[in-house]
Each structure stands twice: as C-alpha cells, then as structure tokens.
C-alpha cells in the first residue's frame, strides 16, 4: 500500500506558528519555497535572506540559516552570500515594496549580472508591515493609506510590472504565479522548483513573483482577498513563465 503525505517540512514544523496575519499570502508562498528545497534534499544547506518587512517573520519559523538585512537590500545581500557560498542554495524572500522601489536597483542589477540566486517576490500591492501604504504594484484607483482617494497615474505612475522591465534580460528564469487557488499554488510551486533547479545548475538569476493576498491592509476577508486577486490583480499582472533561457 502506498502512502502519500501532505505535510510541511520537518524544519518548519519544529518552529513556532508564524507571525503572519490570518490569510496572509506569505504563509503559503514561503512554505512552497521550503517544500521545494526539502524535496530537492537542499533545505538544510539553504540560506534564506529577508529584509525588514513581513517576509522576515519566516526567519523565526524555519530552522535553517537565515540572514536579515536592511529594507530593500535583501537581493544584494543574497548575492553577496552566494558569491562566497556557491555550494549553498541561496534565496531572497522579499516583498514587492522593497524590491520595486528602494531596492529596485538591486533587483535589476542582480539580473544584469545574472547573479546565481533565486528571488521570490510577494506581489500584494501594498507595503504591508508599515500599515498598508501604496506600493509600486498598487493598482490604479486602489485605496491605500498613502493613496486614500485611490492611486492616480499622473501623481504616482502606473503599477510596476517586473516582467516588462526584465524583458530581454539574459537571465535564467522569470515567472509569475498566484496562490488564489490550489491549482495556481501547484503551478507556482513548479515555477519555484524550476528556479532552484536552475540555480543549482549554475544558470544564473531566477525570479518568481507571486500574487498574494494581504487581507489586513486590503480591508477584505481572506475569502474576498482571493476573489480580488482573481478578478482585479491578475488582469494587470498576468501569470505565466516569461523567461526561460534556452526555451523562451
């Protein structure tokens, strides 16, 4: 008789419950990363890098080596770790606020240098940790604490789409997933798996952006947050694999 288990990696289950809000996308996306590494036999060897935002709460739940760095600098820090620890899987687990505003230079330049790291970016359309301010990915018309009347293009520009910015860059992999349904979570996990495989194959920079809910700062129930991703967010940020060197 074969047994199939749906179980979080041991190194996650020995820790405290996470500090994320109910329904927060971080819980699922981070877990996918740890699952992939566990299935590849690499979880113990891995080093994850966080900045100061909600992503950093995973540092206390996962029993692997972790580095916490300044806001916007996780990708640069991860590149530094990997350059001196080439045999360890190294990944930056970060938010859209940091990666597309204050840390944007490093996001783009790590791609330009094809740094051999994996970057997983949560796209939840807000700066979550600081109370839900407008982020580079906030939608036009979306109300946040720093766009109370809704984001306007003439003042704040249009939502930033990393897939458009990295088009044509010679990197290993770029994909966007979502965690609004079980099917999309499974697809996203495959994207993250590809990203880590490419790192361990020394192919260079891989980035997976994941559409995720922030019920607390969206002012929606968890259920309604997933609906919002399906009905509004996905229209602006389409899912799929955008770059795979040698394939597309």
């Amino acid at each position: 008789m074969a047994t199939k288990e749906f179980k979080a990696p041991e190194m996650l289950r020995t820790g405290d419950p996470t500090g994320f809000c109910p329904g927060c996308g971080h819980g699922t996306v981070g877990r996918l990363g740890f699952e992939v590494l566990d299935e590849m036999g690499l979880l113990e060897k891995s080093i994850s890098v966080y900045d100061v935002a909600c992503d950093s709460l995973y540092m206390w739940a996962i029993d692997t080596d972790c580095v916490g760095t300044a806001h916007g600098r996780a990708i640069a820090t991860a590149a530094g770790v990997k350059r001196v620890r080439k045999d360890c899987p190294v990944w930056a687990y970060v938010g859209d606020g940091a990666s597309y505003s204050i840390g944007f230079q490093h996001t783009v330049w790590s791609a330009v240098r094809n740094e051999n790291i994996t970057v997983v970016i949560i796209n939840n359309g807000v700066f979550g940790m600081t109370g839900g301010q407008m982020a580079p990915t906030t939608l036009i018309g979306q109300k946040t604490t720093s766009s109370p009347a809704g984001r306007r293009a003439d003042v704040n520009g249009y939502p930033m789409d990393i897939t458009k910015i990295l088009t044509g860059q010679d990197i290993a992999y770029l994909a966007r997933g979502s965690i609004d349904t079980v099917a999309n979570i499974n697809k996203t996990k495959k994207y993250i798996r590809k990203a880590f495989e490419k790192q361990m194959n020394n192919e260079g920079f891989s980035l997976v952006e994941v559409l995720a809910p922030c019920p607390t700062n969206w002012g929606l129930s968890p259920h309604d947050s997933l609906e919002r991703i399906r009905n509004e967010v996905m229209e602006v940020f389409p899912l799929g694999e955008y770059i795979e060197r040698g394939v597309k």
Binding site: I47, G68, T69, A70, R73, A76, A78, V81, V84
Partner: protein
C-alpha cells in the same frame, strides 16, 4: 609576487594587503580618489581565487559585503566622501548584527561634490556618524603606505575579535602617494571558522539567524543596552592607538593624523633644532579616540595645536575632552591644502608668544 619589497601606491597597497590578509570578496563602486582599489581588485582578486564585483552603487557594495560577512568571509568595500555617506545605514546594520567587516574611506575635500584632492573633513562622519542608533565603529588612521598595509591585517583581526565593522580612514594624499612597502606573505582565511556564520546546517544543528543582535538579548533592549555598552567599553579600553613624538617636555603639542601628522613630524624635528619644544600626538585610531596619549603631556605645555585639513576643526571637541579642557587649544586648519611644516612652527611660536587665538 615573489618579492615582497615593492614600491606601491597607497590605494593599490590597500587592495594587495587585503588579499594577502585572506580577503576573497570585494564589492565597490568607482569614486575618486579611491577608484584604484576597485581597478586593482578587478584583475588581482581573480588571480587570488576570489571575486571582485563592481556594483551599481555604494549601497549594493555595502550590502553584498554584509552578505559575504554574514557567510563568514573576509570582505571589503571601499569608497570616498559622498560615497561613504551612502554607507551609513549599512554600517548601522553591521554594528547591529555583530558582523565583522572592513570598509575604507579615502577622504576628499568638501561637502556636496566638493573636489577630489585630499582633506580630513570626514573625521566627524567616521568618529560620530556611522548610521542611526548608538553606533560606534573602530577607525584606524594610517599615515603611510606601509601603515595602510599593516592596518588592513589589524582591521580584520579587530573586526573578528569584536564582531564589529572597522573603518580604515586615510586622505587622498596617502591614497595616491607611492612609497616603498614590505608586503606580508599571502594568507588564506577559513570561511568556516566561525560557528555563528551562515553556511547551511548539519543534521541536528539549529539554524543561525544573522539579524539584530538585540532580538536575542534578555528583554531585548534591556539586555542589549548592557551588551553594547560593554562592547564599546572594551573597545575604548583596549584599542586606543597612538604615537607620541617628544610630548613629555613639549611646550606646544601638535595633534594630527594622516598626512598632517607627517608634516608635523617634520615640524617637530625642525622646531627642536631651533630650540622650540614642539611635540606631536599622532592619532592612529580616531575611534576609540586615544585619550591615553594625552596623559604624557607635561606641566610645561602651554597649548595644543590642532593640525587638520578641515574647515570646521573637527578634532577640537575630542581634544578638549581628552585634556578635560585644561589646556588652551589652537588650530591650524587648512581644508584642502596639505599643511606646511614651517607654518606649523609659526603657529607654535604664536602660541608661545600669546598671539594666537584659541579655537574654543
């Protein structure tokens, strides 16, 4: 290099000495007058089996260094003036995360863009700045190319002893000058030597977390207060470095570091030949400030002549504190010009004649 006795430019000697100390990672950005360090590293580091990255800005330079240091490597990032201003947050993070690291400021003249010639206008930045939140670094101030070479090894040792960032500060004159040096033998650094650094966990090990050390202290800031104060006190007690030249019987004592101190050494020699009792306290660290150096000042001292390439006279407060405001302070402040030894003596004569104006 088979021959360790060479003539080298200060900046290049810094880079070579770092490599010989086991540094195998450099990240930095071009800015005059220290770009030679980046340029030298861009070919020499690979020869030595390491990596040198020209980053997109100083911030990336500092944070790649942060990552490399977190992983246990000896890493280096260097900048000058406006670029060093960009390091401030990162230095605060290095302090707060207990990471050993070496950074370099090759000081140039002026606020804003200023100019590229030498000055000592970054004293306060490095002595008192270094980012937000009760930060303090260790800062070495070499005055010759040989001292740069020796200070690099010392910097890594101190950084690892205290788990703390160390800054090497020298002015453009020293960075650009060529002098004969004896280089140390090549050495390797074991990246796995620290238990605390991230490297992947073995079975049964718990994950290490490189982040604010305060998170791990008893009651967070209650415990961290004591921890950090104790660390700073240990640095202050044990790491003051200075060189005194004819201080004990001096009637005027110069205080200087870097290129200014070399000019003062010449002034002391020439003044003594004229029968003027001039002395020099040369600062070899500015943090911790070598308060102990001032204990040698004798009862005959009529005044202290602060010789600094700055507009404000940035050392004045520290010297006043070190002497408990008991000795009149005078200044020979030259902003971007290297001080002149004849003028140092002239100011000393004015002090002795009661004609000089105090700076405080």
């Amino acid at each position: 290099m088979a021959d360790n006795e060479v003539i080298m430019k200060g900046n290049e000697a810094l880079a070579e000495a770092a490599i010989r100390s086991g540094c195998r990672f450099f990240s930095g950005y071009p800015i005059t007058p220290q770009t030679e360090i980046l340029e030298y590293m861009s070919w020499r580091m690979e020869e030595a089996g390491g990596e040198a990255i020209q980053t997109e800005d100083e911030l990336c330079g500092a944070y790649m260094l942060f990552g490399a240091a977190a992983a246990g490597a000896r890493a280096l990032s260097t900048s000058a003036g406006p670029g060093f201003s960009l390091y401030q947050e990162a230095i605060s993070y290095l302090v707060g995360s207990d990471l050993p690291a070496v950074l370099v400021d090759v000081s140039r003249i002026g606020n804003a863009l200023g100019d590229i010639s030498q000055s000592q206008g970054d004293y306060e930045l490095i002595r008192k700045g270094n980012g937000h939140g009760d930060t303090m670094v260790i800062a070495l101030t070499p005055a010759s190319v040989q001292e740069i070479v020796d200070d690099v090894q010392l910097a890594y040792e101190l950084a690892e002893k205290y788990l703390h960032p160390v800054i090497i500060l020298y002015d453009a004159a020293i960075g650009q000058m060529m002098e004969g040096v004896t280089l140390p033998e090549m050495s390797e650094h074991d990246i796995n030597k620290f238990d605390w650094s991230v490297k992947g966990v073995k079975k049964g090990e718990h994950g290490r977390k490189i982040t604010n050390v305060s998170y791990f202290c008893d009651d967070m800031y209650v415990g961290y207060e004591k921890y950090l104060r104790d660390k700073y006190q240990a640095i202050t007690d044990n790491e003051q470095r200075w060189e005194n030249v004819e201080v004990a019987d001096a009637e005027v004592v110069c205080v200087a570091y870097g290129i200014s101190s070399r000019v003062c050494k010449e002034a002391v020699r020439n003044a003594r030949a004229e029968g003027i009792k001039l002395g020099l306290i040369r600062l070899k660290t500015i943090t911790p400030f070598p308060v102990k150096a001032f204990e040698e000042i004798g009862p005959d001292c009529k005044g202290i002549e602060i010789v600094e390439m700055s507009i404000k006279g940035q050392m004045i407060d520290d010297v006043a504190l070190a002497t408990k405001c008991n000795i009149p302070l005078y200044g020979y402040l030259t902003s971007y010009l290297v001080p002149d030894s004849e003028k140092v003596i002239e100011v000393a004569k004015d002090i002795l004649a009661g004609k000089a104006e105090e700076v405080l």
